[in-house]
């Protein structure tokens, strides 16, 4: 197995507060990796650093062995590193079909119809993104990350704000697509049922540091994970 995405000594501070404190992470190619931890643990901060969104951070990042530490967001995206957002990040006053078309002009059309079909956006292509339901907007946010069939996908709570049924359905869709395309995934998710069922390995963040890492069984039994985060959930 080869390492698809690797971060070393990743740190990011807000004022004196270290939201990310010397974190190392390596995700193998084809792996689905869960990233869990309590609110404020630094999960989104880690995704921001890896995807190029963060400013004022330190460390090194490699994508398939290539150093992408200094690459801009759009250059990382062209190399196959894509992400979705915890807070929906779409183009409000633009028709959904136009957004996906513009994205595919930059990233290629590979798999575009698969994405539209899997995320059931086909009947919404003519609608403006700010005129559809929240659930539709979440699926659009995800679709924008999937355009051009990226290689590594960073998902920051793709089901945030969805109902239980909606999020279970979304998890199923994602699992199918990820398997079919053989994507490498790093997913942040609060629903432990989803995490334990789809992830090959899990990384636990706590106060900006890695608390534990292992397969679902190991994490479920890990004493400090149970006391710091899982509690009675496990």
């Amino acid at each position: 197995m080869t390492t698809a995405l690797e971060g070393r000594n990743l740190s990011r501070a807000f004022g004196g507060f270290r939201a990310l404190d010397d974190v190392d992470i390596a995700v193998e190619s084809g792996e689905i990796r869960g990233l869990i931890g309590p609110n404020g643990a630094g999960k989104s901060t880690l995704i921001d650093v890896l995807s190029g969104r963060a400013e004022n951070w330190s460390g090194q990042i490699r994508l398939n062995g290539e150093d992408i530490t200094r690459l801009k967001v759009q250059d990382r995206r062209h190399r196959g590193l894509a992400r979705s957002f915890q807070r929906t990040n779409i183009f409000p006053a633009i028709a959904i079909g136009t957004q996906l078309t513009v994205a595919s002009r930059a990233l290629g059309e590979t798999g575009l119809s698969d994405v539209v079909e899997a995320l059931t956006l086909g009947h919404l292509l003519d609608r403006r993104a700010d005129e559809v339901s929240y659930g539709d907007q979440r699926r659009l946010d995800l679709a924008l990350a999937l355009v051009g069939r990226p290689q590594v996908l960073l998902l920051d709570e793709p089901a945030a704000g969805l109902t239980v049924e909606e999020s279970l359905k979304l998890a199923e869709i994602l699992r199918d697509l990820v398997r079919r395309w053989g994507l490498t995934v790093l997913i942040v998710e609060h629903d432990m049922e989803v995490i334990f069922s789809i992830c090959d390995r899990i990384t636990v963040l706590h106060l900006g540091k890695i608390l534990a890492e292992g397969d679902p069984g190991e994490i479920r039994r890990h004493p400090s994970v149970v006391s710091a985060y899982l509690g009675s959930q496990a």
């Binding site: 801009k72 183009f91 006053a93 079909g97 136009t98 078309t101 059309e109």
Partner: protein, 340 residues
């Protein structure tokens, strides 16, 4: 191929073609109307006023395109209007180069300056952006105002026209009947070009960037260059308006660059509705004559203009153009027998 087309099949393509023939049809109609105008309007005064109004419409369009494609507010657009006028006027009056070259320089210099400025300030949003454009505009105004050797400072300078420009007799540019047709035709062609641009992949990209600069980068686009190109396009239109005014008046003065001219252009764009391509031109047309009438009625006419701006912002967020579109689509629905 876009997914819209692939999923809608031939229907989508056909709809797009119909929309294009609409645009060309409207533009042709507008051109014919413009050519007919001097024969329909007998009064020289009216033709002269209309010529001035069309120059304002062009400047307002240049402000509007910045709002529409970039989501940016400018309080310094007169800088490019004036820079075009001064570049052309000074070179032509001092016979530094041929009038044709002066005209080209008057178009190219503002476009390039705006493009380069755009590379620097394009990603700065909101009030900071508005203040920066104001500062740039006032800086140029100060130069024109104080630098007497350039064009007599605040006195302004008359620009004696050469006999011909591009083989056209300069009288053509100074007589209202012909200048009205020239200005109007150029405005129509610009609106046509802008509406084709807005529908092109580049136009779609700039609108996507306008909506969400960050996410645009996350779908693989650099956002600075497209924004800077829009600044260049916008300045090109403003410079054209400035050169036309110089040709017509045979005179340049620092007032052309003053912030109040920029502010007025912005007000015209907002009143007309900058999200709609022809909205700013409509706003300029309405306000040009509103100013004229209000100015005859009271010396406090700026208060009336301000009042109009407030009323439109509060009650017509899409401006007059939005109102017209809403009313016509309601009328069309009624004719088709649908309930509104």
């Amino acid at each position: 191929m876009s997914i819209g087309e692939s999923q809608l099949g031939g229907v989508g393509v056909r709809m797009a073609q119909q929309r294009y023939s609409w645009i060309f049809g409207l533009a042709a109609l507008a051109l014919v109307l413009g050519i007919a105008a001097p024969h329909l309007i007998a009064s020289l005064l009216w033709m002269s006023l209309l010529t001035q109004a069309v120059v304002d419409m062009m400047l307002a369009t240049s402000v509007g395109i910045l709002v529409r494609q970039n989501g940016r507010i400018s309080f310094g657009q007169a800088a490019f209007f004036g820079l075009g006028a001064y570049t052309f006027g000074v070179i032509a009056a001092r016979e530094i180069a041929s009038p044709e070259l002066a005209l080209l320089a008057g178009l190219v210099l503002p476009t390039v300056v705006a493009f380069l400025l755009g590379l620097v300030i394009a990603r700065i949003p909101g009030v900071a952006h508005a203040m920066l454009t104001l500062a740039v505009g006032q800086a140029l105004y100060e130069v024109a105002f104080k630098w007497r050797a350039l064009a007599n400072g605040d006195d302004g300078m008359s620009v004696r026209m050469p006999d011909t420009i591009f083989g056209i007799d300069s009288d053509v540019f100074q007589s209202p009947a012909t200048m009205l047709v020239i200005c109007w035709s150029l405005l129509v062609l610009m609106l046509l070009a802008l509406s084709l641009m807005a529908r092109s992949p580049f136009g779609q990209l700039t609108e996507v960037i306008r909506e969400n600069d960050e996410r645009a980068r996350f779908i693989g686009y650099g956002t600075t260059l497209p924004r800077a190109i829009i600044y260049g396009v916008s300045a090109f239109i403003a410079a054209t308006a400035g050169i036309l005014q110089t040709l017509y008046d045979g005179y340049i003065s620092p007032q052309m660059l003053h912030w109040s001219a920029s502010g007025m252009a912005m007000i015209m764009a907002i009143v007309g509705g900058p999200r709609i391509l022809w909205g700013p031109a409509l706003g300029a047309f309405v306000l040009f004559f509103f100013k004229d009438i209000a100015g005859d009625a009271t010396e406090y006419w700026p208060a009336l203009v301000g009042g109009t701006l407030i009323a439109v912002t509060l009650f017509l967020p899409e401006g007059f153009a939005g109102l017209i579109i809403r009313l016509t689509s309601r009328a069309v629905r009624r004719i088709k027998g649908e309930r509104p």
